[in-house]
Symmetry: none
Subunit: 189 residues, 4 copies
DNA sequence: TATGAATGAGGGTTCATTCAT
DNA sequence: CATGAATGAACCCTCATTCAT
């Protein structure tokens, strides 16, 4: 049986992860590791123990998120209505991103390479997205002339709607998301 | 009256500005000032003299660009067809951002704060955009339920379509831009 | 009377000592304590409990070796031929050093101070060496104008002949040892 | 023409080099760069500017020394008496090493890799030593059964005679050197 | 007693900015 | 004015040691 006394360690790890996610989301990726440690109430070494490099810490945050999203994509693939599945996932992505600026930056391609890390870990959101998109297109729910890269770009656009400040303007975000989904729907002609 | 700067100084300033614009556009905002100076063939002190801080240098570059864009917005406001004017400006913004990674980052809200610098200098692209948008909406060319922030977000989304690599995939960018414009057009119902 | 340590503790201590000896011998003194613990299959705290500081661990290893060497010196002092006794011990020292990089470093004077630790523990190799040397000199088997410090220096020299790699080039080491012993032998004139 | 205002820079560079040589020689290679800077009365960045990494600083010190030694070996190769040439160079190496603990460590093979750096810079002391040795052996002044690696090992041995403290015991060093040279001389039988 | 997570000082290096030349 | 050497705070990371479990 696995040793149990990791209670503290687990809590610290979770705490660091949580603080780092919030700090990176709020203030960007350039916040020193030292500062993360300070706010989490641990020593710098503790952060390093759990996440050997800053990159690893960042990757851990994203992968945790991606794991959820991949699972969600899989679940939605079981959904009967392909259109509903796709648009639901799109909204999910937007909301996930909105809550985490670090994630958004990474998704936007700036800074760390998310895709490869995700691929390494087996969480391929892009594949999930592509699957949902294709299915929706085959069902005639989404225009045929967009690909998953387009969809990701539009998601990034929606994300950029929310400022770096607090998350109060969810309404604006949701509205823009709706507009974009509108635009993605199949055109009659 | 202000002293007329030496011809040398003028030339150096221009040269630094030009090199920095290219470098920031190509490689992002994290390039050391030292490197800018080196490529411009001047000392680091010369850069600092003209632009006391890195932020100032960056602001100067963007302001030059924003000045152009503001002027273009003004010119398009004279255009007879409000819809054409708006969509033309939208495409212009996208292309400008695509050609300049630093500008894109700034427009996306990452890194330095563009808006305030622009406001300080009197070049308010957002105002120009808002004007064109309103006119297009009044003319029934653009959906009523979007505002300038939405449009900027969509522009950012389009920009994120081009990777950090070379600008070879203009086709994909243009296509996505077209799709987005499509979505912005007034809906019948 | 001192408490009899637990059997567990004894075994762990021995195991750490053994692993550390091998690791220090193979890879030098800069190997992290953490690594010693890992290879010994114990926690870092266990190492620290038995050897409060890294220095103490190192001293303990060397003292074990020095105890052997001191005993050997004593044994050789009973030997009838003083010259044979001395040269045998010299070769023994060289081989001991060659087999143990940490010991070699310590004998060479780099890193931790071996002598004082040895003196504290009552194992004085230098004294043993000095005794053998003096006896050999009185018997006319070794030049009169060298002292034990010279002999130790020559030993260090021999040791430096073997590279940091594997111990395959024993031949070269033995040859150099022979040459040095040759030089130490009494001169006719 | 080359710019001249390097007066300060040159002085600082020389000063850092000099201080570093002394400090490394006195206290070994583990002294922090920060400490070198402090003692030289400059900022840490100044050291880094002149010597991008600690290794580079160290190499610069040694190379300066090796350049001298290589030149000396070349000069001695012109000397008529091969035996005198060889033994003179041997003594020179010993004295150079004795005056510089860092050099000694490097010559002994510990720490940074001197040989390759020297080879890169074209200062191959080992080659010089080998040349002098071979010539002396052909002339019958040195035993045939030693090679340059043996000689270097013996040199290291002599060096280890001087403790890490002050250099007052030159007499002992010189004496040991003489003894070693004695042993290297050709044997009649 | 054993564990290994936590600590935090200290390492080398980078770089925006200042200032003597 | 131009220069680029100097500055030193800040960064990320390592590791000997301590201490709660």
């Amino acid at each position: 049986m696995a040793r149990q006394p990791r209670a503290d360690a687990q809590r610290n790890r979770a705490r660091v992860l949580e603080v780092a996610a919030r700090v990176f989301a709020t203030e960007g990726l350039s916040v020193p590791v030292h500062e993360i440690a300070r706010r989490a109430g641990v020593g710098t070494g503790t952060v390093s123990r759990h996440f050997p490099s800053k990159h690893d810490l960042f990757a851990a945050i994203l992968l945790a998120r991606l794991e959820q999203l991949t699972a969600e994509a899989d679940a939605l693939n079981q959904q009967t209505d392909p259109g509903v599945a796709f648009f639901t996932f799109f909204a999910t992505l937007v909301h996930a991103g909105a809550a985490n600026r670090g994630l958004a930056e990474a998704l936007a391609g700036a800074g760390y390479d998310l895709e490869s890390a995700a691929a390494d870990a087996g969480y391929d959101v892009t594949a999930g997205l592509r699957g949902l998109l294709t299915r929706a297109q085959l069902a005639g729910a989404v225009r045929d002339d967009v690909d998953s890269a387009d969809v990701k770009a539009l998601m990034t656009g929606c994300l950029s709607r929310v400022g770096s400040g607090g998350g109060a303007d969810t309404a604006a975000l949701d509205h823009l998301t709706a507009v974009v989904c509108d635009g993605l729907r199949s055109k009659p002609g």
